[in-house]
């Protein structure tokens, strides 16, 4: 695709801040989103396996509903976390994103409803399994299949968006315009690699699970040991598969010797060592986050290079600075988001560690964070209305 077309497809309003900031936020939030995609995929898949074992195996009787719950919450989180990279990508790569959306318009529509139906069915599975050990197998499998299908569709959008040279052929093959929105593209190695990552993610999750419940007296040692060793096994095998697929993917696109790729491979090896020894899975999770960021960076690197070759450089995107709203975002993100999420996670951690009722009002951290969150949110509302009224009055009076 001609550079002049790609440049013309940029929004004439320009972007409201330095492009590199959007790029960095994209890499960061995609990594977070992907982490929960992989956890959802892994925990849902494993919970389905658990439904076959939970009737006769005491350990799976406890583990299966916990995995279902993990899958359920992960889907919610992957959705909310997915909104952010979606937002940032279309600020700087709008030509790619909007072209893909229109070329795959039907799939876009199907994607949304596949997600709604798949997720609703997963709730159904959750209730069916709650009612009876081993219950809801079929519903669970259908739900899982639908959600995986939605994932494949998202893969299609990502792949189509980095095929600018093919867009014209997709839209008007042999000069005949096709407005149907059925464009579908798949990159098997890339997809297989992404899917394979769900194994190490769920493996490390199981190590964390084992470590977390080890302080609880109501969890048997047998279960704690079993989940740790199961996690190690799954993560080891998964990491090896992922590593092979990653090397293969990088080799086919000619990126194998790139420093970011070497750093990613090194990260995977470190991860493999840490998973095998399982000394402290919480630290392993930290390394996993770093590797996730690197993988997100690799994706962006591929896209950035590809677009540069076509004459489209995101760093040349015209900037129209927009100071008040970025100030609002940064303050809300760092202060309210930081304190608020810390409040919820601290509470969740402490509830999970407690047997019986956790008295948050007597817990200094939870109590203080709660008060701050409430105060910051109230203040936020006051500022919002004050700001709005000031703008409105000055514009209409």
């Amino acid at each position: 695709m001609d550079a002049s077309v790609l440049l013309a497809l940029r929004d004439p309003a320009g972007i409201p801040f330095y492009p590199v900031v959007f790029q960095a936020l994209y890499i960061l939030t995609w990594a977070l989103h992907a982490a929960f995609v992989l956890l959802a995929l892994g925990s849902m898949g494993l919970s389905l396996y658990g439904t076959f074992k939970q009737k006769d195996d005491q350990r799976w009787k406890i583990l299966t509903p916990h995995l279902i719950q993990t899958g359920k919450i992960s889907v919610s989180l992957l959705i909310v976390l997915g909104v952010a990279p979606l937002l940032f990508t279309q600020v700087i790569y709008d030509p790619n994103w909007y072209t893909t959306n229109t070329l795959s318009g039907m799939w876009i529509f199907i994607f949304i409803y596949a997600l709604v139906i798949g997720y609703m069915m997963f709730y159904w599975f959750y209730y069916a399994n709650k009612a009876k050990d081993g219950g809801g197998k079929m519903i669970g499998m259908i739900s899982f299949a639908i959600l995986v299908f939605a994932g494949i569709l998202m893969h299609n959008f990502a792949v189509t968006s980095i095929m600018p040279n093919e867009w014209m052929n997709m839209y008007a093959p042999n000069g005949v315009v096709d407005n149907s929105g059925w464009t579908f593209n798949i990159d098997i190695i890339r997809l297989a690699f992404m899917v394979s990552l769900s194994l190490p993610v769920v493996g490390i999750f199981l190590q964390n699970y084992s470590r977390f419940v080890s302080t609880r007296e109501d969890f048997s040692k047998d279960l704690i040991d079993y989940t740790a060793s199961l996690g190690t096994k799954i993560a080891n095998i998964g990491l090896l598969i992922s590593a092979v697929l990653f090397v293969l993917w990088m080799y086919t696109i000619g990126y194998l010797m790139h420093p970011v790729i070497i750093a990613t491979i090194a990260g995977v090896l470190v991860l493999l060592y840490m998973v095998m020894t399982n000394k402290n899975s919480y630290i392993t999770t930290g390394v996993l986050v770093v590797v996730a960021l690197l993988i997100s960076g690799v994706r962006e690197l591929i896209r950035y290079d590809l677009m540069i070759d076509l004459g489209y450089n995101i760093y040349d995107y015209p900037v129209n600075f927009e100071i008040p709203t970025i100030t609002m975002f940064l303050l809300t993100f760092l202060i309210m988001g930081g304190v608020g999420v810390a409040y919820l996670l601290t509470m969740a951690w402490k509830v999970g560690k407690s047997q019986g009722v956790f008295d948050g009002s007597k817990d200094k951290a939870v109590n203080t964070l709660g008060n701050y969150t409430l105060g910051i949110m109230s203040l936020w509302m006051v500022v919002f209305f004050g700001w709005g009224m000031t703008i409105l009055f000055s514009n209409i009076l």
Binding site: D11, Y98, V177, E322
Partner: protein
Amino acid sequence: MVISIKGENMDIIGQFPLFYFPEYGSAWMMGVTGTIHILASHTSVGAAMLFAFLAYKAYKEDRTDLYPYMKKYGMFLLIFSYVIGSITGPGIWYTATAASPRGISALIHNFVWVWATEWVFFVYEVIGVFALVYFMNKIDKKTHLKLTFTFALASVGTLALIIGIISFMMWPGTEAYYTTGSASDAFFGTNTFPHMFLRVGFMIMMSGVIGLVISSAMKKENEALSNELSRKMGFVSLIGGFVTMFFFMWYMGTLPENAHMVFSFTKDTVIQNRIILAILFSLYFLIAIIKPKLINVPIASTMIAVILIAGLWPGEKLRESMRKPYVAGQYIYSNQIISRDVPGKGIKSELPIIAEKGLLQVNPFVPENLKVITADNKLEAGKLLARMSCSNCHSLETTGKFRPLKERLAGMDKEAIKAILYAAGSGAMPYMPSLQLPEHEYDALAEYLASQKY
């Protein structure tokens, strides 16, 4: 200031491929997703406020019997509102992008930081809703109460942040935005606050309407409590309904002229329908207050369906119609053409270049064989022109369903159609885009439309 980049071609405008759904057009897909989302999202914000109210009551009056209701309500909230709401929210975005990529692009490039801020609240909400429901029996009541307050504030925060963006879609409200290009001027227009409180009212009403399903379902377990809660839900809904009506009135007064022009076509029917709905729902809420035991799950569920089908769907369709011919900020037409200068952002109207060169020439996704109209490709070019310029609002087939052209152009020959195209193009119909095409494009378009024999 917009910097000129090497390689830029001034003869191309940034139009994307066109996605067209046969018989209906692609905009209805957004309408369907949008209507479902509005039901779910308004319910969820309303429910968050109601939840805080109930938690406060339960804590202050030491009403432990209210917690099981809250738990049930919370589960419903979680499954119904958050599952559907959180997927259809981005879903509107996706489907709207497929139908109106430049409309969404305009919103994104003006409001990305507002959306990013909303996302922070959204993250808090999604984690918070799980904590709220699953920790109900696992944390002390005081902490739980505090959690419900923060959750309600976060939910209202998401509304506060999206409302200015939706209002901007209708219009920026004042002229300030066009000269400053500032997101604040675009966000806080004259209709932002009335629009916000109109929705707050509807949210409160919806929280009561959903609450009635759950309270009436509890009859078997505890009839006295069920009746007490149904009565409360009746009051909540009635107050919400009143707030909705009050701000609706104010909101209508803040809309631009073109919106009123479109509204005037259906004004009588719309008002009549709204009066019927207001009476029906007032009666329903009064029954809930006076004779709560008459309310049962089938009735309460039917009323939700009535709101969805008779209230939200036509309401959303009307709001979409009233924006015509624009899709965002009164500077982008529904057919993805920038129709005015926005000096504050360095945006230039694309109408002059289209009038000079024609749509086929300036759209980069028109294949080479259709760029120049010939006797051989005239009908094919006309068809593409019809899709590019008309299909966002009108279905084109002779069996089309969505504002079909067959109703507008029935029995007309080429010259009659051309006369209509000239009139619309020169701005004679305020709800149609003022879009002048070169004569050869008018001709090809009219020929194609005439060939359909509507």
